[in-house]
């Protein structure tokens, strides 16, 4: 089944209204609503909750003072880094100071959400407003207004690293250019917001949490530690999750701590379902960075030295450490050889929502900076931007390729495999690069401005530490596969079933994959960083192989054959070339688990079979045997695996509306061996749409006082079907030598290059530099009317 266009197993449920998202559980639960800071920066002087307590149906109103122990401490810092200067995370409920508009101050729990909001509306918070700092460039300056009262400055962390000798190379470079690039704040905005439901049973001390999270096992571990109970007393299920794109992996958002806390305190199930406004002001953002680049090159555009000094907007806190700017730094070089490369970044606090990875996770910024640099220097030197890229690409015989800086997992960045020149040539062919100049001229003759832009990226995927899979064969031959990963639409129930089906010789329809349920498998990391296929995929392969070996050994014994002569096919174990010897896998599982067979026709048959099989008087199981057919195996990759892609766009600017018209968008994509082309295409298409949103439509707009101006879908413009053209997809497959499936991740790939490509295409169309993204019709208007006329 590996490599086949298998229709998705999860679709039947999701298409018929049978999906189960977090808000679909516990209809009778009490519901929470939050009072969130109205100010971007303020001291909280007093919280008067008396009005709320008078509301009929209110079960509890809680402020920071009600919390004790770990619940009253700042939330955890998920990814520590030695470069963090002053780590800051928020309290679940604010203590004395609030540092962004939207910060949680009071939790109200009531019989339903309507009543909870009634009560929340009657709570009076007295603030002493403090000056807010919102502008990233100013926030980084010495002496800037501080985002946290009493802090010496706004620096959250700083990291720098150098490969080669950048200053020396710049000093000797025939050409040196300096440019500034900026990319705006944006956000994942999955269609389902976050949600948490918790149920505590005091009779057995069990806490059950349903959480729309990308990392349920981490939530479970954290909650167990916080409550001071055994891991076994806490179970977390990430059920169907309505999109994530990064924003749902935080460990912890305040609500993920507070809802379980309230459920235990009140002894009743409690639910919180985020509304869309809350999502904009209370769930993490990403993207905002400002880069200052110095690049040195020779007359042919070969890069001799590259330096970026950049600031990254951490928002009010740094719960996710420095991971986004670290990824930007490691992945900015992309497919290009930078012998002398230096980066230096500062992550900076501002009075805005905190930032953490959003699909692409720092890479769209890096790709934008790198690809715009290449186009700009090509233009300065009057070179073909394609030739400049060709001259700088890493060659196929240079793998494994050491980039020379640290990867996000703390190890060296080493590309495992790739063929970048082939990808680029395929792209140029597909987009018709050779003929474009003539097309551009013809259009110009009609008064239309066409532009073509290119962009390439390399994406580190499949990072550790590990994932696991628990596989069990049922008596009816059904194979269950439990993985710790959650699923937000990546077809995990299908692709992992394909892998197990191949290994066990069963039909994919007989494999049932469960995801994100700590009751089924307790160890796992999460669905993020394009890591599921690479890490969990190989874990499934390993677990399925263990089960296959068990089946072969057991069947060999029953059939009195050599283990190597047993094959698994058509849902049965049999002696090779002897179909009549076949023992159905389910029967084998029953026989391998003596006394399990109590009910059902399969069990009766297995019992009869077992009597015959064991008639020699031999003990049913060997001393060291595993009963049944089941195994749990893990896979811990030593390093990431690196997918890549090349994109090209042909765009036209509508002279009347200044709308961006994407005439063609071509993608060459490589994620190693493809498990399911249907799914990979979907991931790339979806990533492209999100990238296009980030190129022209979506940006979070703050005013100077730290209020978001577009905290709704009316104003934060996710593209509709009317805005997103279908991209043309081409695949190459360069297997990864680092894992046995040869796969690499694909989840984020489609999004990474798009802003860079659109910027290059528009710059080409208008023959003007573009140094900030996203674009808007207004910006295009101003570029079309550089003299200021026309407004």
């Amino acid at each position: 089944m590996f490599g086949e266009r298998v229709e998705r197993r999860e679709d039947l449920r999701l298409l018929t209204g049978g999906g189960r998202y977090t808000d679909d559980f516990e209809h009778d639960a009490a519901q929470a609503a939050f009072v969130r800071s109205e100010h971007a920066h303020a001291r909280v002087l007093d919280v008067d909750v008396t009005g709320a307590l008078e509301v009929d149906g209110v079960l509890g109103v809680y402020t920071h003072e009600d919390l004790t122990g770990g619940f009253a401490a700042p939330l955890p810092l998920l990814v520590p880094h030695e470069g963090i200067v002053r780590p800051r995370t928020q309290y679940a409920l604010a203590a004395e100071e609030v540092c962004y508009a939207g910060e949680t101050i009071v939790m109200v729990v009531a019989t339903d959400r309507y009543v909870a909001e009634d009560a929340a509306g009657r709570i009076r918070v007295s603030y002493e407003p403090l000056e807010a700092i919102v502008d990233l460039a100013r926030a980084a300056d010495a002496g800037a207004t501080v985002a946290h009262a009493g802090a010496p400055d706004n620096i959250a962390g700083r990291v720098s690293e150098e490969k080669g000798d950048v200053d020396g190379a710049l000093a000797n470079a025939p050409h040196v250019f300096e440019w500034r690039f900026e990319i705006e704040r944006s956000a994942s905005t999955p269609m389902e917001g976050r949600a948490v439901v918790a149920r505590y049973d005091e009779r057995d001390g069990m806490l059950m949490v349903y959480d729309s999270t990308q990392a349920p096992t981490g939530i479970r571990g954290g909650l167990a530690a916080l409550f001071g109970v055994d891991l076994e007393r806490v179970q977390v299920l990430a059920p169907d999750v309505g999109g994530g794109f990064g924003v749902k992996v935080m460990q912890f958002y305040p609500e993920e701590v507070l809802i379980p806390w309230a459920a235990r305190r009140l002894g009743t199930p409690v639910k919180w379902t985020e509304d869309r406004r809350e999502h904009f002001i209370g769930s993490n953002h990403e993207r905002k960075q400002i880069h200052h680049v110095r690049v040195g090159c020779d007359d042919d555009g070969r890069i001799l030295a590259f330096e970026t000094r950049f600031v990254h907007d951490s928002g009010a806190y740094c719960p996710y450490g420095l991971i986004v700017p670290v990824i930007t730094s490691a992945q900015l070089p992309g497919p290009y050889k930078l012998e002398n490369y230096r980066y230096e970044f500062r992550a900076v606090y501002t009075n805005t929502v905190s930032t953490s990875p959003y699909r692409g996770a720092g890479r769209p910024q890096g790709a934008f900076v790198m690809e715009r640099t290449l186009d700009r220097l090509a233009r300065e030197l009057a070179l073909d931007p394609v030739d400049v890229r060709r001259r700088n690409l890493i060659q196929p015989d240079e793998f494994p390729y050491e980039v020379g800086v640290t990867f996000q997992d703390g190890g060296p960045t080493v590309y495992d495999s790739g063929d970048y020149p082939r990808g680029l040539e395929l792209l140029l062919d597909a987009v018709g690069y050779a003929g474009f100049a003539a097309e551009r001229e013809r259009a110009a003759a009609e008064g239309r401005r066409l532009g073509l832009g290119l962009g390439c990226y390399v994406e580190g995927t499949g990072i550790g530490p590990y994932e696991g899979a628990a596989i069990n064969v049922m008596g009816d031959g059904t194979v269950t596969v439990a993985i710790g990963l959650s699923t937000q639409g990546q077809a995990h129930e299908t692709v992992f079933a394909q892998i197990a089906a191949d290994e066990l010789g069963v039909d994919v329809e007989r494999v049932q994959v469960s995801t994100g349920d700590t009751r089924r498998i307790g160890y796992g990391v999460g669905t993020f960083a394009s890591r599921s296929a690479g890490v969990a995929g190989n874990a499934v392969k390993r677990a399925a192989r263990s089960v296959r070996h068990q089946a072969q050994e057991f069947a060999a014994r029953l059939l009195e054959a050599a283990v190597d002569d047993i094959e698994l096919a058509d849902g049965a174990a049999r002696v090779k070339g002897s179909p009549q010897s076949a023992i159905p896998l389910g029967r084998l599982a029953l026989v391998a688990n003596p006394l399990r067979y109590a009910y059902g026709a399969e069990a009766t048959e297995a019992a009869v079979f077992a009597r015959k099989a064991y008639s020699s008087g031999e003990a049913p199981l060997h001393e060291d045997a595993t009963p049944g057919l089941n195994a749990v195996e893990y896979y811990s990759p030593r390093s990431g695996v690196f997918g890549f892609g090349m994109h090209a766009a042909i765009v036209e600017i509508d002279p009347d509306t200044c709308n961006l018209l994407v005439r063609r968008y071509v993608i060459v994509h490589d994620c190693g061996r493809v498990i399911n082309p249907l799914v990979v295409d979907g991931q790339v298409q979806g990533g492209f749409a999100q990238g296009l949103g980030g190129a022209f439509f979506e940006r979070i707009v703050y005013d100077d006082t730290g209020q978001i101006q577009n905290a709704s879908f009316m104003d934060f413009l996710i593209p509709y079907a009317t805005e997103v053209p279908a991209p043309e997809l081409h695949h190459t497959e360069t297997p990864s030598p680092s894992n046995e499936l040869g796969v690499k991740g694909v989840g984020e790939a489609g999004a990474i290059a798009v802003p860079a490509v659109i910027a290059n295409a528009v710059a080409d169309a208008l023959e003007r530099p573009i140094d900030s993204m996203p674009l808007s019709p207004l910006q295009l208007f101003d570029m079309l009317h550089p003299d200021g006329n026309g407004r």
């Binding site: 229709e7 018929t16 999906g19 998202y21 999955p190 269609m191 869309r276 979907g682 979806g686 879908f713």
Partner: protein
Amino acid sequence: MDVRPRELAPISLTVNGNVHELEVEPRWLLCDVLRHQLGLTGTHVGCEHGVCGCCTVLIDGRPARSCLMFAVTADGADIRTVEGLARGDGKLHPLQTAFRRHHGLQCGFCTPGFLMAALPIYRRAGALSDDELREALGGQLCRCTGYVGIVAAVRAAAEIEAGDSAP
């Protein structure tokens, strides 16, 4: 009429052919009543301000946002939700089959809204240009698919239906 927020009002809703006599607060949204009073959780709520279209249901045959309507104002209405799309024998509706075949869904959260929005138009899709079809689906947001599979599915559904009913 004097409306008191927490006073229950009797209403009658026909949902997927079943008549429900309900007591609702006048401020309760139709989507909340469908989901939490009737347990029809296939209708999803993505924005609560009428932009995303996840909560789209058919009201008296026409697609409407169930988050922009109070349940009391739907009194007496004939409502169809995604749960009423597949046939009684469990066989998928041709639109559902088409969405599966063309990978028109990933996380599935926007999917019920798209299905209900496409239901009145899929038989005419063949006569629509790509732009027209996208315009017709232009009231629904999807964050996962980039719409490629969705547009292809809506276009293919009528043909699948014809194939289904062929002898």
